[in-house]
């Protein structure tokens, strides 16, 4: 993964924090689909919150390492896995 990349969130989801976790509800043509929501665990929610259209992957990785007991390598693996999955689902986009 190119760690200098910046990602942005799609406008097509409504997020709801439940404690440290999150639910993402897709909006199709502005209409909510409550039967196909995405559940994000605590780490995924942390990564999602840190993807703000400005931070690079490198910066997200540093934030993850300083907030959770994970190695640099584990953090990057988690971020890579999460971002690839979310890009495939249209939740995140690479900033051009």
């Amino acid at each position: 993964m190119d760690v200098s990349r910046v990602y942005v969130k799609s406008e097509g989801f409504v997020e709801k924090a439940i404690g440290a976790e999150k639910v993402l509800v897709p909006l199709t043509d502005n209409v909510a689909n409550m039967n196909q929501v995405y559940n994000l665990n605590e780490v995924a929610s942390f990564i999602y919150d840190n993807i703000d259209g400005e931070k690079t992957i490198d910066e997200v990785q540093k934030a993850l390492v300083s907030n959770y007991e994970v190695t640099q390598e584990e953090a990057l693996n988690d971020i890579t896995y999460f971002i690839n999955d979310m890009v495939n689902r249209g939740v995140l986009f690479a900033k051009q």
């Binding site: 439940i18 639910v23 509800v25 502005n30 909510a32 409550m34 039967n35």
Partner: protein, 300 residues
């Protein structure tokens, strides 16, 4: 004829209903008959005003939903939701109704007044008698009007016993009615076995029945203590759920036709308020009284 109008109370929300057209008479003996409030309320939550019009013009509004009857219905119609600036419009086109062609309900944000316009099929001498919550408009109206009063509608059954209410939900055919019947046989009061309203009131989440097209029930309510997601299973079991898993699994059972981010956010926030107070369990059950005893023994 009830020229002065009347008030119905559903889930603690007062709806004053009044026809302003001599051609339209509201039937107080239909689905709402047990929900009538004995007197006119000074400041009702909603004023439903019924009018006969020649035509309904929805140009300038954007269509957001189209719906059709459910498979088991005999009535033929199509319903639509339109949005305008600060407005939601619910429209029903009847294809086979003997008297009514189209109904539209105009709901305006920050206003308690709801305007219901009826286009009749033919000129008639006698007034057309309609249920104020005429199906399927009534269900749609309740959904949007309840949301503004922190009310949620859910496909579920619910029972009350010893000052506690339990709600059972899950996909169609999973056993919501069966579960309600089992509790009824064990002495519990069945609040309803199809659709309920949930509202946070004080420290409690209250669960209420509401007028339905094919029911003749008196208003019933209870303090909701737990939501059970039903599964069919060869053995009885009860498994607590929490966090996002509980949230996302309950979420799909609420009735919702919501659009626009703010409306969706309000709904998600309301569901969270409920789940902050009410525990969620997955329950596998075989249809006998053992499951009732298992749940009765739980502490809430």
């Amino acid at each position: 004829m009830n020229e002065k109008g009347f008030t119905i109370n559903i889930a603690g929300v007062n709806f004053q209903c009044q026809s302003f057209s001599p051609k339209l008479q509201l039937n107080i003996h239909g689905s709402v008959r047990h929900y009538l409030f004995p007197e006119i309320v000074i400041s009702p939550d909603y004023l439903l005003e019924y009018y006969v019009v020649e035509a309904i013009d929805l140009s300038g509004y954007q269509q957001v939903f189209i719906g059709e009857p459910e498979a088991n219905e005999t009535l033929n119609y199509k319903w639509y939701v339109y949005s305008g600036i600060g407005q939601v419009i619910l429209k029903v086109d009847f294809t086979e109704h003997p008297k009514i062609r189209t109904i539209a309900a105009f709901i305006t944000n920050d206003s308690s007044k709801v305007i219901l316009q009826f286009v009749l099929k033919t000129e008639t001498e006698n007034p057309v008698i309609i249920d104020p919550l005429i199906h399927p408009l009534g269900s749609l109206l309740l959904l949007y009007l309840m949301q503004r009063k922190n009310g949620l509608l859910i496909h579920a059954s619910a029972v009350a016993i010893d000052d506690r209410a339990f709600l059972f939900t899950g996909v169609s055919g999973i056993g919501k009615s069966t579960m309600a019947r089992l509790w009824g046989e064990c002495g519990a009061q069945i609040l309803n076995d199809d659709r309920l309203v949930l509202r946070p009131i004080g420290d409690e989440i209250m669960v209420y029945n509401n007028p339905m097209p094919y029911y003749a029930q008196y208003p019933r309510e209870g303090k909701l203590k737990a939501i059970f997601l039903l599964k069919q299973s060869p053995e009885n079991y009860i498994k607590p759920l929490s966090g996002v898993l509980a949230y996302s699994r309950v979420l799909g059972n609420f009735i919702q036709q919501f659009y626009e981010k703010q409306m969706v956010k309000d709904h998600l926030g309301l569901v969270e308020q409920v789940l902050n107070k009410v525990k969620v369990f997955e329950v596998g059950f075989k249809p006998d009284h053992d499951i009732v005893e298992m749940i009765k023994k739980m502490k809430f």
